[in-house]
């Protein structure tokens, strides 16, 4: 698919999005609420044939964001799904690992550092923090001091 065809294909999920940002031909951001994240991710991976790159978890002031970055290598376009998790008390999102093994580690990592739950993740164990790291302490949350 060339870029035009790709744009057209992306509009198939328009009804699940709350917004689309085209920063350039090669940088597209698809905004959505947490409940639609799974479907849009599956669409990009299976429907469009994008390559999963990584996910970024962010503690934004009034919500959590999980950004899923994909590359459509044929045109060099990076498509990022921005999923907003409004529930700060018990942040949770559907895991992609069941259909995307590449997501397994990063979901475990985001769980470690931000405390977001990934529902139906087959193996949500600690990944990068030490064995004796205290439970309930999430280093990438903003309420933790920056210095050690």
């Amino acid at each position: 698919m060339n870029q035009q065809e790709l744009d057209k294909k992306l509009s198939e999920v328009k009804n699940k999005l709350t917004g689309i940002e085209r920063k350039s031909d090669k940088r597209i951001y698809l905004l959505c609420e947490v409940q639609n994240s799974y479907a849009i991710n599956k669409f990009l991976f299976e429907g469009v044939g994008c390559r999963f790159v990584i996910a970024t978890g962010i503690d934004s002031d009034n919500c959590f964001e999980v950004l899923y970055h994909y590359s459509y290598d044929e045109t060099g376009c990076v498509i990022t799904i921005k999923a907003f998790i409004r529930d700060r008390k018990q942040p949770a999102i559907e895991s992609l690992t069941p259909f995307l093994p590449a997501a397994e580690w990063i979901e475990r990592e985001i769980h470690d550092v931000l405390g977001i739950d990934f529902k139906n993740h087959p193996n949500l164990r600690r990944l990068i923090l030490a064995d004796d790291w205290p439970a309930g302490v999430y280093p990438l949350r903003k309420d933790l001091p920056k210095a050690n």
Partner: protein, 143 residues
């Protein structure tokens, strides 16, 4: 000077330990074996187990997870032994000082289990292989 220290100085067998390093120092340590530097002609040998080592070459800041393992390796190394803190991270945590997962540097971690440990510092980011050889020779002649 007792027999053990004499043999250590004659031909130190070293064991390399990565305590949370970026790999730069580690690659330069391995470089010591290669033809350009060839430390084996000095009798310095890289061994596969701390139990055979006279000296530890430790790289890395000392992450929380690596610290206990480093202490365990130190315990397993027969004494006397010299701990070489290789690189800026091992000497003083460097740019990672305020990391939440960093509990080093190396001397702090080792001294927790042995306040009298012999520790030598080879700074650099990474230290060149020549600097490492120089550091090892200097430390051993001071013993």
């Amino acid at each position: 000077m007792n027999w053990k220290v004499w043999s250590l100085k004659k031909s130190p067998w070293v064991f390399h330990v990565n305590a949370g390093a970026c790999n730069n120092c580690d690659i330069e340590v391995v470089d010591l074996l290669t033809p350009k530097f060839d430390v084996e002609r000095f009798g310095i040998k890289l061994v596969g187990s701390p139990r055979h080592a006279d000296a530890l070459l430790v790289t890395g800041v000392g992450t929380r997870q690596a610290a206990k393992r480093l202490q365990e390796v130190y315990r397993q190394t027969p004494k006397p032994c010299v701990v070489f803190a290789i690189g800026a991270c091992a000497c003083g945590t460097g740019i990672f000082s305020n990391g939440y997962h960093v509990v080093g540097p190396v001397d702090k971690i080792i001294k927790e289990v042995d306040p009298n440990a012999i520790i030598a510092y080879v700074p650099g980011c990474p230290p060149k292989p020549e600097a490492m050889i120089s550091g090892v020779v200097k430390a051993l002649s001071a013993l």
